[in-house]
Symmetry: D4
Subunit: 250 residues, 8 copies
């Protein structure tokens, strides 16, 4: 872009082109070549982290190819919703790739992940064993994005003592992610106890009238506890990403 403008300025100075021609030439350039990174100049996060690969619906070959390109220019890689076949394909181009079977994530970490002193801790609470995959996806994502993360499992509304036994962890968190498929009420309870943002993640796990996550989704949207926000069903990655943007010490 700079070259083009320099050339245009030169031509203008030399009188080869007039104002009209100059403007005409410029007209489309911002859309054609605009340096979009500039729009995001304060998006520290994105600057430091490359594109994330959503493996679902991609072939292992496609995933490996994208991963290869990312690793040429980055020391970090995150791929989500990855099957074993995706991992095998990436493994061939990156021996140090790590597969988390529960989270279904593939990660490559070739430099120490920078911690930001202004960031606090993200607490991930999960209601049941069945919600663990989504919670783990959130944990892996949040960690590679540079957050300190703590995971608290099997905390349910029907047995509040588990939650109360961990009140100190709640008090320490800067953001709380609550992952639940059958215990859709958990974010409400947590939201009533803490004074930080609570990100609720409904999961599609549950029988009967769970309806693929609609039941906990509706419960979470209808919460009366202010400070609770919701992301898509099973979207552990999205919750972790949003939590990263919110993660700031008091």
């Amino acid at each position: 872009m700079r070259q083009k403008i320099e050339r245009l300025l030169k031509e203008y100075k030399e009188g080869t082109i007039g104002v009209d021609e100059f403007i005409n030439e410029l007209k489309w350039f911002p859309f054609e070549e605009i340096d979009f990174a500039k729009v995001d100049h304060h998006r520290v996060l994105k600057h430091e982290f490359p594109e994330v690969i959503l493996c679902q619906w991609k072939t292992p070959e496609q995933v490996a190819q994208i991963a290869g390109k990312i690793l040429e220019r980055s020391n970090l890689l995150l791929a989500t919703r990855a099957g074993l076949e995706h991992f095998k394909a990436i493994k061939e181009i990156a021996k140090d790739a790590v597969y988390n079977e529960i989270a279904r994530t593939i990660t490559v970490v070739r430099e120490e992940i920078k911690k930001d002193d202004k960031k606090g801790k993200i607490l991930i609470i999960t209601a049941g064993t069945a919600d663990l995959p989504v919670a783990e996806e959130a944990r892996v994502t949040a960690e590679i994005l540079g957050n300190e993360v703590e995971l608290l499992c099997d905390v349910g509304v029907a047995g509040l003592h588990r939650l109360f036994l961990n009140l100190d962890k709640l008090k320490d968190a800067s953001v709380v992610i609550v992952v639940a498929g059958m215990e859709g009420a958990l974010p409400s309870v947590v939201g009533g106890l803490v004074g930080v943002p609570v990100i609720a993640v409904p999961t599609s796990v549950g029988y009967g009238a769970n309806f693929g996550g609609i039941a906990p989704l509706l419960t979470m949207l209808n919460t009366c506890a202010p400070g609770v926000v919701v992301v898509n069903i099973d979207n552990g990655f999205g919750a972790a990403f949003a939590a990263t943007l919110m993660n700031r010490k008091f």
Copy 2:
């Protein structure tokens, strides 16, 4: 019916009819004249209480007419979903009728309601002011059906202290009815604290994704707290009736 059988027996004895004619005559009688109350011979409750009038979709005249017939043979009357116009119509035939504007019930009580020593207390918990009409319908119903009732208002999941401040009331109850439109998780929390049946009543009150009560209904159905059962949206009457059947001291 008795007459008919007596007559048939007489004719048989006299030889006017044989076994075949006798059976033939009997064939349809059970359906025609069967004393259905007998089927219910252990339904103490129904024996003691007359039909309840659902005023909705009935004209004041229709309601007053039914009420008149009931009061001819009973000292108790309960009408639900009653508007002021229904009350006025009943008032004309029963000066002692009482209207509960919040519960939208009309009651006539002309004898002391018998309490059953084997029955304990029904606790009705309501999450918000907006749920009060349904909770009141349950209270009025449960009381006229002979239960001791206690009402605990404005108890929410997002502010659990209100609930914990009333733990003693929870401990005393034989059945708990939880009425909630926006706090669909409340029955789960209550179900985790008590050892008696919890009847959850979703209400259609709430904004956004309440969807006319579907959200709390689904939340309640998906509860992980065993011992929680659900009735129809806004069905305070049904909850109270079922609670009466379950109400037994320990």
Copy 3:
């Protein structure tokens, strides 16, 4: 907890700490160490029965591990939604484990199940062969929880005679559980005949507009028969547990 308080009292007596420090120390303790069993002191049921394992979404290893811990302190074990692989894993640590293929339950019973004289009989009615698994889950659960149970199969609304032929069983029951996927109306009919609580369990079995159990669920919620309450689709366990809480002789 006792130790901590004893120590604090000692320090206070000795003048090492004042009232303020004492209170400060106490502030969090109830949440940290509260003896939750006390909250439940009248929950006879829970006292006598250990945690139930929901096998679905758990690996055989996870299930076996939990089962092992339970059997260390209990002579009874119930695991629901269990596959054969879960059974095999438990079998290795408990030779006397029993698998019910239809109910998909695993049970271990190492002492005679105590019957409570104040409890009556639970009648489980099922509309069709396809509803049997849910009904069986309810039966196994209710029995291990100490109830006398009777199972009545293949009773349908479209053929009422099967029901009427068993009126005596209806009359004998203290609670009735009705399991139905295509015959969503059955609980209404039963509710009209008995004077005890009826727990309706919709099942996801059925073709066409059953919609995974939504159709019978809605039918059951809309019942006009008072005394009918509903649990989640396919939730045989929940129905049995709630029935146990309601089960009391007249």
Copy 4:
């Protein structure tokens, strides 16, 4: 049409036009002028009965205008979903118009309605007072279409005795229409008792999870009683029309 063909035949005979021109002229005529009544030559019903006016969404003027045209060529008129304002407009052009406030129908009957000896009786069963408008719409429609009709009110699944007390009416019917909003199971029960077609009409009347008639609609579609068919929610007219087509003595 006849004229046109006569003219064409004449021209052809005279040699003015050839086969090609003849065919060309004919090409579109069947669509343009076809006597559609001929397609329906065995539709006795339609032959004897004029168009029915659906008043909803029509202005009184529009309704009166259509009614006027119908009455020019017919001695019978049926208008459904009519408000008082529609009736007033028709009254001005037909002094003998009759308004049924419950059914919301307007009828004009200027000749004796012919009964067909081969037709039997249509029995309309309604579950509750609230379902009466739809049942009445069906009754008025069925009667003006020449059927003998009997209406049986307030028959519910939760109180089967009302139904059994009227078994003889069920036995006499050639077609049964069952109208129900809260008692969606009623058509199943009726279908199990009779050997004739049962037309189920869900109504939008009901509270809670009736959902504008979806609940009884699903119940009715899922019936296990063969011989039960369903029409649209609140569609009393449609049920009566279909019943008329099915109404034949045994």
Copy 5:
């Protein structure tokens, strides 16, 4: 039953029991032993045809066992939703069993199916190849129930000429069954052309917004063509059974 009444009459005559004892003894008998076939005395159809087996959710053993019992007392057998494994099991006890792979029916016919002269022809119209299984289930059912049946395939709304080319078949039918998953409008078009009952069967076949048959179901319910009634999604059997009840010549 006869024995019991004879004994009671004898005892009464002998003076062993009085009228009260007599009535008391009778009280429950109608429900216990009532000859339900008598209720159905005009259900010619049912009399002539035994129970139909719904194989889905039944094991081959269960199906074979039921089939065996039916064949002991009947020369006709119909099983629907049958897999090959069900057929094999039946084949072992009935060598002459016939499997229709498309309809997924098993039939045994050991006597000539009686035709009723008063019955006309049932026309089954299907919109596409994908709807054929449901249409075939209807055809097999209707034929074994004693109807003359004609099947007309691949008739679509978007190509009306196929329908118009078969107008004569429409004119000949006493009942029309229209089976469609993507062409939900077809029953409306057919209903506008014929003067006999039209039974619409939505199928779950279709992509995109078919939603398991909801789309054609709604289309069919909303038809403006009077005389159209609807059965459950994919319910070819139910359509054929209802059609049989309606099938009467003009």
Copy 6:
């Protein structure tokens, strides 16, 4: 924009700013001041027609103010979903404003609407009186956008002759808009007869299972007739706008 660039060029030529400053200044300008009309340079339509006012949810004052601004620079005005109160407000600032009560549109036309020779005719077909408002909104919109429009009313699937009687109109159209709430199948039938784009507009008018337009929407989406596309429920304006973009003679 031109001024700014001229000034920058001048400053650059004079040496006041360098290339870097120049680029820096430019960086945001395309987003800040880009002449978006240029992006649309071939959008003939938008060039010739000003913004359309959606009156719904706007106060009469807001609408009048926007209308005033539009009329300062344009001779044409279209406002949709307008109530009488909106019309009165506009009338005060534009005496020549015209209100179409059925379409609920306000139009001002101060110059002859240019017709484009390359455009053909748009045919709007409506199934029933109740669909007329949406059809009229489409007609008014299409006409002010410069199309020749023909409106064909009361054409239904259940009575195809009305459609066939107007085949010539179908043949003449360049685009067909089909508006239907109860006759959701109409676009399929039309799509099977013509060779031009068919825009289907579902309407929310209908009773029973219309569900606010969902039923016809699903029917239209599931059409098998290629060439049929769908717009939002009741969106007559959108259909007309899209039709204008598609309207081209053959």
Copy 7:
């Protein structure tokens, strides 16, 4: 048909039949034998292209048989939703058949596809890798129907720069097809940038609250960008067909 009319005319001329007989003979012929192609005489498209085979729900044998018939009279063949097994079956009768694994299409092209000079270019935009199969189905269909097609992949709302970098392609298109499952907003954005019809195709691909394509479908229907129309979920073929009808240069 011609023969029949010639014969009738001859008989009429000879006096064998009169006008009445002549008309009577004609009455049914238009429906029986009408040359439907004539109705479509301006449907250039259909004339030039044979029936398309929807392979889904058809056996390979059925597909091959239909394909064989089509290839007897046509040099072009298109089969959609084809599996490998369908391809193998067609391959046996047409060695030159081509299978597109992503699009799941089978094509045979035995003559140069005619391009129409009046047609412009169809641009297909797809939001993600997962939407590619539907986009490819659209591309293959549009090309065999004689359109020039360009495919633009991986353009998302959350990263608008990809779209802006391709503004020139948007400007060149005569019709734009936007295929998206997770980026349901993309058609709105595109519709705001172009002045030609935009056909939105929701896809069923996506996790969480995509709900089988309902989410993008609703988003697309609710677009505020005029000129956007919608087809069924995953209906790439339908989009391409409709686009072909709309494809005209400016």
Copy 8:
């Protein structure tokens, strides 16, 4: 509480009670009297701000009574979803109450609202005039909670230039709230441009397939732009509250 513990300590010191009695006395106190504010000790926000009144479903008297109590101990008051009648009631007890008719909020501000230097700016973007009430509720809430707020109206996806013209405002915001009913895609676009949390608020405003806000809700949940979270339909208050918790300068 302090008194009680002091007394207990004194009694213990004096030997009146032992450790057991001491513990026994303490057992229930945490639930009975626990100072819940302590649980929230770092919830700066809640400390500084009193309870918010949701006026909907409350009578003016109820609202005024609660407001009176709050104003006794606080200089700030916020009431949401308030009608004019609620305002009048509060006005009587607080002359300085202010009513915002669009936002439907009542506020009393009797001290300068403290700004927190660590907080940045909240940007509220609204897509259309119809979304203004929800956006205003968010603005009023956010301001009284101590945030700097900027409101940007009428920014739509179909006309992106409005958004791009305000890129600087996007760059300055610490949190962005996007309110949209018909432009459900707007949060995705905004989320793609900024690097801060985006809170999406679906509104129930829109016609056709908006379905009371379900359409924009689903669109927002399905966003591919990371950093976007969702609150309940129309929940401007909740969005502002959550935004306050997230509002921190970079």
